[in-house]
Symmetry: C2
Subunit: 216 residues, 2 copies
Amino acid sequence: MTNAPTRRSELKRLPERGTHDRPTIDAILDDGMLCHLGFISDGGPVVIPTLYARRGDEVLIHGSSASRMLRGLASGLEVCLTVSHIDGIVLARSAFHHSINYRSVVLFGIAEELVDLDERAEALDYITDSLVPGRIAQLRPTTEQEVRGTKVLVLPITEASAKVRSGPPGDDPEDEDPALWAGVIPVSRTAGTPQPDAITDVLTSVPDHVVEWTAR
Amino acid sequence: MTNAPTRRSELKRLPERGTHDRPTIDAILDDGMLCHLGFISDGGPVVIPTLYARRGDEVLIHGSSASRMLRGLASGLEVCLTVSHIDGIVLARSAFHHSINYRSVVLFGIAEELVDLDERAEALDYITDSLVPGRIAQLRPTTEQEVRGTKVLVLPITEASAKVRSGPPGDDPEDEDPALWAGVIPVSRTAGTPQPDAITDVLTSVPDHVVEWTAR
């Protein structure tokens, strides 16, 4: 599937930080779970955080069939789906050159609803297994009623761009004082100790797929 | 400053997770550094990740004066500014009840440009010191040229809502099998060891404000 820059996805600011390279885009999408989905409602912009999963050349999102957002989107509204990761705080020798190290993807398109119930059930399992790989195999099958209560939208990855900033600060030469500490504070997302709920028996061990999640 | 729900900021889905309470909204804003800013460009939605800082009853954002986004916004376009934190992965006993624990704020309004140079310089210092408290005191003053090269936009916190999900999964009673592990994997953002750049002298110690950032 092509991902050629359009007027909309063309990289404007600091194009040296940007790319339309699909492996880069896919890696950034695969490293996240929450996207920020923008659409127009009542003439104004709305940005909602929502779970997503990449499946090949498309991004899946889901939500309650009663959701105003998903009802609007399902009728063919344009969306902009953005995913961002913070990798570090960049401390320069001037306020002006302070920044963050980040990776982001901006994806434009029209989200299409998955109407077929079997396709929808399959997509929902895929989303859950993207969030927690190996989880679906442990669970009872999703019921038809649950599938009917959930909308799934598909957005093709055809109009996307990525931006990445990494590395040390870019100070102006006249500011390069070795006695002034400058550099990067790395930042990452980490998992804590899994907390079983009150129903889980104390003798039930933490399953491998949960341990693997916390170790990644 | 009031923050009464409007038609737009009214909580629609799962209103029990939502609030218009300002201390809750402020705490969520203060816990983040990157927002997702939505606006309309060429008739379509655009969502861009950008740094922000809350200052009292307003949110400050900034960017290059050459930025297409900031030029558009400065002319009085409507925006939706969204901030989200992931606190945990919620593993239920059905795929249907899987979720994440999160805190998010959605803020609607019209961003106004700070035209006055002194006010802009002050706001830029404020943004840097919000990103890294104590940093500004270590740096040379921002030059007039740097201030002129940067736009600052102010968005009042008058039409905002917060949503929070916390706690264990909410399984259906018929699924409550104690032998099936369910619960929460806590997730948080953590800082690594600060990395000085190549210019920083090896004898320059890591300053307190950097150590404090990594310890929070």
